[in-house]
Amino acid sequence: MTTEFAGSQYVIEIIYLIASALFILSLKWMSSPATARHGILAGEIGMVLAIGGTMLHHGIVDWKWIIIALVLGSGIGIPLGMVQMTAVPQRTALSHAFGALCVTLVGTAEFYLRSPDVPKFMMSVLSMEVILGGLTFTGSLMAAGKLQEILPQRPITYKGQNLVNFLLFCVAVGSAVYLVLHPGMRPLFPLMVGISLIFGVLLVIPIGGADMPTVISLLNSYAGLSAAAMGFVLQNKLLIIAGALDGSSGFILSVIMSKAMNRSFTNVLFGAFGQVQTSAAAGQEAKPVRSATPEEAAAILAAANKVVIVPGYGMAVAQAQHKVRELYDLLTKKGVEVRFAIHPVAGRMPGHMNVLLAEADIPYDRLIEMDEINGDFPQTDVALVIGANDVTNPAARTDHSSPIFGMPILDVDKAHTVMVIKRSMNPGFAGIDNPLYYLDNTLMLFGDAKQFVGAIVRELGGGH
C-alpha cells in the first residue's frame, strides 16, 4: 500500500463525512416549509461532493462507461422530475424501484466477483441487500403500475395466498443461510434473487389503492435498508448513513400511515382490505338522503362564517383542486374563514393532498392536520367533503362491527351542516357504507367534483 493511496483514501473519507453531515442537515431542514429549500441545497451539495469524491477512488481505471451512464441517468431523471403533481405517487414508487434495482445489481455483481471467498458476515448482509432490493424492485413496480392504473387497483387475492408467500420467503431466507455457510454455491444465488423478485410481486398484488400510502412508505423503508446493507458490503459509511436515514424515514411514515388507518403492518401486508367489506355493504338497503343543487350549496356557503373543506383522493381524480382554489378565493373575499382538513391517509401517498392543494396555490397555513382541526368541527358552519369517504365515516367511532372501526376520522358530522360532493350513492373504494350521508344535517351534492365546485363558483361569482 503506497502513501499516495492512503492519502486519496483519507480525502474520500473526509468528503464522505461532510456529505453525511449535509444529508442529515438536509432532512433536519425539511421540518418546516420555511427552511425546506435549504434542505434540498444541502442534499444537492452533499450528493455532488460524494460523487466527485468517489471519482478520486484510486481503483477506478475506466471512465468511459461511468460518464455515459451518468449522462443517460440524468437524461431519464429530468422527465421523471417534471411529472404532474397528481402523478407523484407513481413516480415515487417508480423511483423506489430504481433505487432498489441499483442496489440489487451491485449486490449481484459483488457476489460473483467475490465468491467463493465471502466471509460469513459479508454474505449475510449481501443476501439481505439482494433480498430486500429484489422484493422492493418488483413490489414498487407493481405499486407504480396500480397507481398508474396499468394494473387493476382492486386487491387481487386467491386461496392460500399467505401460505404461498410465507413458503417463498422461507425458501429465499433458507438459500441465504445456505450461502452464508457455503458461499461457493453459486447456482443458489440466482434462485435467491429470483424468489425475492417473485415475492415482491406477490406481496403487492393483494393490496388495494386505499392502502397505498402505507405500502409506499414501507417500500421506501425497504429501499433504504437495502442501501444500508450495501454500505455494509462495500464498507462505505456514507451509504450506511444514507440508507439508515431513508430506512428510518420510511419506517416512521409507515407507522404514521398504519396508525391513521388503525391497522397493523401485518394487517396491511397480509389482509387484503377489499375482502371484508363486500358483506358489510350488501346488507344495507336504500335509505333516504337529502340532496341539494349548486345554487342551494352556494347560498349556504355564502351565509357561513366558518367553512372546513375536506379533500380526498376523489378530488385529485376529478382534477378539481384548481376549482377548489377559486371557491376558496371567493369565500375568503366574502369574509368566510375557509380551512382545509387533511387526514393523514387522504390521497395515495403520505402528504399527497398537501402537495396537490399547494400546487393549486392554496396557502399551506390553511391546511390543518386531523388532530388539530377535529375539535373545531362543532363550531364549524359548513363542512364540505370533496372526494373523501372512509376518512369521514362516523361508523369508525361508534359501530363495532364496521371494518374501519377504531380508525381515526375527521369529525365532519359534528359540523352544523355537512355537504358531500359525490358522483352517486355507490359505496366508495373500500365498499363500506357511510352513515354520514343519511344524517339530518347532511346534504348530498351529486355530480363530478370539478363540475360541481365549478357550478358553485359561478353562483358565488355571479352575485356581484
Binding site: 416549509p33 475506466d62 451512464a69 434495482l101 451491485v106 429501499a223 411514515l253 404514521i256
Partner: protein, 99 residues
C-alpha cells in the same frame, strides 16, 4: 475486519436514531417532499455502482450490471431533487400569496 464490522454497526445504529429524531419533527405537510428527498439521498448508492464499473473494466458482467445501476440511481438523484424542489416552491403562506 472484526472491528470494522462493529464500527459499521455503530454507524448504522447512530444514523438510524438520528433519522428517527429528525424525521419525527417533519411536518405532515411535507411528507411527500420528504419521501422524494430521502429517495434522492438514498440514490447515493450510485457511488457503489461507480466504483464497481471503474474497478472492473475487464469484467463485462460487472460493467453491464454496474452501468444499469448507475443509470437507475442517477435518474433518482436528478429526478428526486428536481421534483422535491418543484414541490417546495409551491408551498406558500397566505401572506405571500396575497397580492
Amino acid at each position: 475486519m472484526g472491528s470494522s464490522i462493529i464500527d459499521a454497526l455503530f454507524v448504522f445504529m447512530l444514523a438510524a436514531f438520528i433519522g428517527f429524531e429528525v424525521v419525527r419533527h417533519v411536518s405532515p405537510l411535507l411528507h411527500t417532499p420528504l419521501m422524494s428527498l430521502t429517495n434522492a439521498l438514498d440514490a447515493i448508492a450510485v457511488v457503489g455502482a461507480i466504483v464497481l464499473v471503474g474497478e472492473h473494466p475487464n469484467s463485462r458482467f460487472a460493467t453491464v450490471l454496474g452501468v444499469i445501476a448507475i443509470i437507475a440511481a442517477t435518474s433518482n438523484v436528478v429526478g428526486g431533487f428536481f421534483i422535491t424542489d418543484r414541490m417546495l416552491r409551491m408551498f406558500k403562506t397566505s401572506r405571500s400569496t396575497k397580492p
